[in-house]
């Protein structure tokens, strides 16, 4: 499920995207006070004083690259200075993050963007260090901050962010535009997207159709179990008893929402506006299950699945704003040879597993030590160039 969004800047990319992620457009709740064109990420006020955002001279736009490398998916976006996403890529990581990052960069480069346009690069996600080294990032940030920044960009008055990805889930509580609390779950599968993927595979339903199917149900089956294993056996039981598949599918969405609210969101005050993002957010069944459980409207923003990357791009813009310089290595990183090596340090009984990243045989970075012994690497190449636009 590789998709790419290669739309000429400013043409309302959402229209093109509808075919690719059916649910994200139809379920983006347009808020009355925001009348920006779909796909452009509002901020109309700022656009006016941003000198590099004249419509028409798209080639001169400054762009910011955001890369989000998770264990399930790797997402990249290019965002312009006004916050409009001009290109996005969603790829499966498949346990090979370097290849996924390079493939993503290649897909972006194929759209004809120029190195000189990229004024900043940011990375996030569990693979953010690796991604940061490969693309040459100006900022490397954790996924909580990246998701919060992106949600605030899309819905400035957001107070709750629900995020469910393939392998983890989070809740972020925001008040008056700042994060005041958050929680993450990385252990329990019953609160993440992999739970739905697994059950969809078991029911033989493509995960893309899962949400629409759930909407057809009028009487959901209650799937028991706080744990993915119990839920699975209960579902098999319900299936054998002969419940209609759409009722089971809806029941699964409700079970995931219940698990999420009981584990990740436990004790958090969920106040509207609520934004739902992450890989699972384009599942309309999940959106409805959340709305029913919470009794409030749940917004799924455009680009809900690549919000981490959007956040990284916004942070890159912030980070490069003062200096106007970027460490971005250029789109050619897609075709450079990167290797990882690892060894066990024998200098003390901790026996840390040290990972080394090499570019064309030259050592770029190392990590994994508890003591910092291997962290410094002989001086890296200097800042590439000045990004003057």
């Amino acid at each position: 499920m590789v998709r790419e969004g290669g739309f000429p800047p400013g043409t309302g990319a959402m229209l093109g995207r509808t075919a690719l992620i059916p649910s994200s457009l139809s379920h983006y709740v347009k808020r009355p006070e925001r009348r920006s064109k779909p796909g452009s990420v509002h901020k109309d006020d700022k656009e006016k004083n941003s000198r590099d955002n004249e419509p028409g001279d798209a080639a001169m736009r400054k762009l910011y690259l955001g890369v989000d490398v998770g264990s399930v998916s790797t997402n990249l976006v290019l965002m312009d200075g006004s916050g409009t996403v001009v290109a996005d890529v969603y790829l499966l990581t498949r346990g090979r993050p370097i290849q996924a990052i390079q493939e993503g960069i290649r897909l972006l480069a194929a759209q004809g963007w120029d190195d000189a346009q990229v004024a900043g690069a940011g990375t996030t996600g569990s693979g953010r260090l690796l991604a940061g080294v490969i693309v040459g990032a100006d900022v490397i940030k954790n996924e909580i901050t990246a998701h919060a920044v992106a949600a605030l960009e899309m819905v400035p008055d957001v107070r709750t962010v629900l995020e469910i990805g393939g392998q983890d889930s989070k809740i972020i509580i925001i008040r008056d535009g700042v994060v005041v609390d958050f929680a993450m779950n990385t252990v329990c599968a019953a609160g993440t997207g992999s739970f739905l993927d697994r059950q969809a595979a078991r029911l033989n339903i493509p995960i893309e159709e899962f949400g629409a199917l759930a909407l057809k149900s009028n009487s959901p089956v209650r799937i028991a179990g706080r744990c993915a294993v119990f839920a699975e056996s209960d579902m098999i039981h319900k299936q054998q008893v002969g419940y209609p598949v759409e009722d089971i599918v809806r029941g699964l969405c409700e079970a995931l929402v219940r698990n999420y609210l009981n584990n990740v969101a436990k004790g958090k005050e969920i106040l509207p506006p609520v934004v739902f993002q992450g890989g699972v957010a384009c599942n309309v069944g999940m959106k409805r299950a959340f709305e029913e459980a919470l009794g409030v409207e749940v917004m799924v923003p455009p680009y809900a699945t690549v919000m981490g990357a959007i956040g990284a791009a916004i942070l890159a813009k912030e980070a490069t704003g003062a200096t106007g310089r970027t460490r971005f290595r250029g789109f050619q990183v897609a075709s450079v040879r990167y290797d990882t090596e690892s060894f066990e340090c024998e200098h003390c009984p901790n026996g840390c597993e040290i990972v080394c990243i090499k570019m064309e045989g030259q050592l770029l970075a190392r990590w994994g030590s508890r003591c910092g012994r291997w962290d410094t690497v002989p001086e890296e190449q200097p800042v590439r160039r000045e990004a003057s636009g």
Binding site: S126, V179, D181, C352
Partner: protein, 325 residues
């Protein structure tokens, strides 16, 4: 005579006291090295499954000292003040250790001050007698040990790291440079048992990491006992666990110190802590909205996940502060 002290649990609370005392009694003190993966693995193998992480670490250290010492010092600390107990796990510690591995002779006096503070002196005399010291020598050693302990606590209060406070208190390092003032105007309290937050492996160097990010770090040791006592005295319910009381009292004392965020660091499977976490949230939040996060670790906890949380927490605290400024 060589006395082995496992680097775990109450070592982080009383080491200067113990070391000074034993050395005054002409014994040699041997401490196991800083916790490593190997020590932890050893502890996990020997300890019972339901033990909390610090107890497992302690087992590892005891095993590490093995038979290269004449005595292994594992006091049975039941209570260190009237009307309060330490963790129930400390109570059976010497017996559980003995049951699970071959050990040198244990030096394990019982300290139970719940009814009577003077019981401590009986324990001190008992230990000294076992080591063959007379009353005068014992008394002098004890006075010096208590003085070293007070210095140690004072250095911790001033913000020295654990290792530095130990060596300063024992007079081993008189010329230690003062900590550079933090680069950022950001104060974060790291609250938790000293044997978790000061341990180099299970504490993930959290305090040093925060300091290297330019953050001013407070711990429960940054507050005087009087400050803490004053805070918990007003609570509607008396707390019966001494060390939990310190954590909760410190959290409440943070309200007076312009603390921008509180991180509570606990071990998975710790009964006392799970209760205190709730209380902290309830009592601190009621007064002022200080960001709070709970980090729970066990032997499987990956460093990356914890550090991601800490990074996110710092971002949150810094952005919140910048906003309200």
């Amino acid at each position: 005579m060589r006395i082995g002290i496992p680097r775990g649990l109450l070592y982080y609370e009383y080491f200067p006291l113990w070391k000074c005392f034993f050395e005054e009694l002409s014994a040699e003190v041997i401490v196991s090295g800083p916790t490593t993966k190997r020590i932890l693995d050893r502890g996990v193998q020997t300890a019972v499954d339901e033990a909390c992480l610090p107890v497992k670490v302690f087992y590892g250290h005891a095993a590490e000292l093995g038979d290269c010492v004449d005595f292994l010092f594992v006091p049975r600390v039941v209570s260190v003040e009237p009307r309060a107990y330490t963790c129930p796990k400390f109570l059976g510690l010497p017996d559980m250790l003995r049951a699970s591995m071959v050990l040198p002779r244990l030096l394990s006096p019982t300290v139970n001050m719940r009814r009577n503070r003077r019981q401590l002196l009986a324990a001190v005399r008992q230990v000294a007698a076992e080591l063959g010291a007379g009353p005068v020598k014992t008394w002098r050693a004890w006075r010096r040990a208590v003085a070293a302990y007070r210095r140690f606590k004072e250095f911790l209060r001033q913000g020295y790291g654990f290792e530095d406070a130990v060596s300063l208190a024992l007079g081993q390092n008189r010329h230690l440079a003062r900590q550079a003032p933090p680069a950022r105007d950001l104060t974060v309290a790291v609250l938790g048992h000293p044997y978790l937050v000061y341990d180099q492996l299970v504490g993930m160097n959290l305090i040093q990491r925060l300091r290297s990010e330019g953050v001013r770090v407070l711990t429960a040791d940054s507050f005087t006992p009087a400050e803490i006592e004053a805070k918990v005295r007003n609570l509607p319910k008396a707390l019966f666990w001494t060390y939990e009381k310190q954590v909760l009292g410190a959290a409440l004392a943070c309200l007076d110190r312009n603390v921008d965020g509180i991180i509570q660091y606990v071990s998975f499977g710790c009964g006392p802590d799970s209760m205190i976490g709730e209380l902290i949230q309830r009592w601190v939040r009621r007064k002022r909205d200080i960001p709070f996060t709970l980090l729970t670790v066990d032997e499987h906890t990956g460093q990356a996940g914890i550090l991601t949380r800490v990074e996110a927490f710092l971002d949150m605290v810094a952005r919140k502060k910048a906003r309200s400024a």
